[in-house]
Symmetry: C2
Subunit: 297 residues, 2 copies
C-alpha cells in the first residue's frame, strides 16, 4: 500500500489552526494586555501542530464537525504551548530559543512567562467547557476530565517532574519510557482520544486510537532525541545536545543511535497496525507515522 | 439583629476542608512523588479557607449536598493555593514565608514550585469535571467554564499581571479596585456563584451572591492592606509592608488608613445588604462580613 504524503495535510492543518487560534485566543487589550500578548506569542506562528492534527484526524474517523474539533485542537495546542513556556524557564530547562524565536521569558520577562503559561492552561478549559465544543455536556465534562488528567500530576506535569529530577530516576530504558509516556505521551494520547470521545466512538476504536497514540508518541520522542543528537540548531530552531551535555539519559544515550532508530521504526509499524480497524479515512494518520519517523526537524 | 459569631463555623469548615483535601489530593507516591508532596505542602495545613466556606455556605442556601460542595470547595482552594505558590516565586513577589512556613520554592525548589502550581490548577478541573461533583453534566461543564474564566486572563491571572506591572497602571483608586476585582475578587465571586450553580438557583439569587462576593472581596483586600500596613509579621506569618516599601500603590497608600478603614466598613454593610433576599440560613454569610472587617490576621 502506498500512502499519500502527509506533509500537504499537515501544512493545511497548520494554516487552519493558525486561524482557529487567532480567533480563540483573547485579543491583547485592557490593562492586562501584556500577559495576553505573551499568550499569543507563545501559541501563534509556529509549530507543526501535530497534536491538533491528531484531534482533527481522529474526530474525522467518526464524522465529527471540524469546527467543533478545532476548539478541542486549540485547547490541546494551548496546553502544549503552556508546557513549553514553563519548561523553558530559567528554573527549568533555561532555554533562550524556541522555534527559532526567543523564548517567552526572554522576549517578555520571567513573571510574564509564568503568568502566560498559567493563563494558557486555564484557557484550554474555557475552550473545552464552552457549549460550542459539543452539544452534549457529558462529552464536554469528559473532555475536561481527560485533558486535566493527561496534563496534571499523573500525566505531563508528573513526567516533567521525573525528567528534571534527573539521572537518579532515569538510568534504564524502562524508566525513560515511563517518563516520556507521561511527559509527552499523555497529551498526544488525549489528542487522539478526544476525537473518539466527541464522536462517541465504540470502545474498541477509542482504544485503538490511544494505543496508536502511545506508540506514535514514543517514536516521536525517540526521533526528537536522535535529531537533538545529530543536532543542527539552525534547522531545529533551538539549542541542541543540552541533555547529553548535562549528562541526562535520553533514548540515544542509553540505546545508542542505531538501536534508537530501529526502536522508533518498530514502534511506528506497531502504531500503524493499531489503525487496522479503520478504513481509508485513517490514511493520513497512517502517513503521519512515516512522517514522524523520517522528519528532519 | 445580633449574629452568632462566625469563628466556630470557620474553624469547623477549616477542619472539614483539611479532611476533604487530604482525600481529594493525590497520594505522594511514584517517581513524581516530589511534585505531589509540594502540591500537598502548598494546600494542606493552613489558611482560613474563606473561599471554601463561601462555596459551602452559598450551596447551603439551596440545599446542595455538602459532600458534592466539598469537591468544588477543594477545587477553589487548589486554585487559590496554586496562585500563592506562583505569586511567591522569585520572579514574582519573591516571598520566603507564607502562613508561617517557608514558601514552596524555599521548601522545595523553584522548578518544583512552578510544577506544583501547574498541577494544582490542573487538578481543580479534574475535581470539577468528575461525575461525583454533580449528577447533571451541564452543571459540571458550567462550573469548569466559570472557574476557568475567573482564574484566567480575564480574572485572577489578569489581575496579577496588572499588579506586577506596577505603579504605571495603578495610580488611582479606580485602577486599584479594578485590579483587585480581577486578582482576588473573581475567585471569591466564583466561590459564591458555585453554590448557586450547583443548586440551580434563580438568577436573582445568583446575582445577589455575586454582588455580595464583589463587596466582600474588596473589603477583604482593603483589610489585608491595613493589616499589612499595621503589620505584625509574627501574627500574619509572612513579610509585611513589602508593597509599601516597593512604592506600590495599595488602598492604604492611596486612601490613607482612616479612609481605607471607612471604605471597608461601607463595602461590608453594602455586601451584607445583598443578602436580604435570603433567610436566616444566610446568617453565617452575614457574620462573615463582620469577621472579614474585624480580623487581626
Amino acid at each position: 500500500m502506498t500512502l499519500a504524503p502527509v506533509e500537504p495535510a499537515l501544512n493545511e492543518t497548520a494554516a487552519f489552526m493558525e486561524d482557529a487560534l487567532q480567533e480563540y485566543l483573547p485579543e491583547a487589550v485592557g490593562p492586562q494586555a501584556r500577559v495576553i500578548e505573551a499568550m499569543r506569542y507563545a501559541t501563534l506562528g509556529g509549530g507543526k501542530r501535530i497534536r491538533a492534527f491528531l484531534v482533527l484526524q481522529s474526530g474525522r474517523q467518526f464524522g465529527v464537525d471540524r469546527r467543533a474539533l478545532s476548539r478541542v485542537a486549540a485547547a490541546v495546542e494551548c496546553v502544549h504551548a503552556y508546557s513549553l513556556v514553563h519548561d523553558d524557564l530559567p528554573a527549568m530547562d533555561n532555554d533562550d530559543m524556541r522555534r527559532g524565536k526567543p523564548t517567552v521569558h526572554r522576549k517578555f520577562d520571567e513573571a510574564t512567562a509564568i503568568l502566560a503559561g498559567d493563563a494558557l492552561l486555564t484557557h484550554a478549559f474555557t475552550l473545552l467547557a464552552g457549549h460550542e465544543t459539543h452539544p452534549d455536556p457529558h462529552v464536554r465534562a469528559d473532555l475536561v476530565l481527560r485533558l486535566s488528567q493527561a496534563a496534571g500530576f499523573a500525566g505531563m506535569v508528573g513526567g516533567q517532574m521525573i525528567d528534571i529530577s534527573g539521572k537518579a530516576l532515569l538510568d534504564d530504558i524502562g524508566q525513560i519510557t515511563r517518563m516520556q509516556r507521561l511527559k509527552t505521551g499523555a497529551l498526544i494520547s488525549f489528542a487522539c482520544e478526544a476525537g473518539a470521545l466527541m464522536g462517541r466512538a465504540p470502545l474498541q476504536m477509542r482504544h485503538a486510537l490511544t494505543n496508536f497514540a502511545h506508540d506514535l508518541g514514543l517514536a516521536y520522542q525517540i526521533v526528537d532525541d536522535l535529531l537533538d543528537h545529530e543536532g543542527d540548531a539552525a534547522v531545529l530552531g533551538k539549542a541542541v545536545r543540552k541533555d547529553e551535555k548535562a549528562g541526562k539519559a535520553t533514548f540515544v544515550t542509553v540505546l545508542g543511535a542505531e538501536r534508537a532508530r530501529a526502536q522508533a521504526e518498530i514502534l511506528a509499524s506497531q502504531g500503524a497496525a493499531h489503525l487496522d480497524v479503520f478504513d481509508e479515512k485513517a490514511d493520513l494518520l497512517r502517513g503521519l507515522v512515516d512522517f514522524v519517523v523520517n522528519r528532519r526537524a
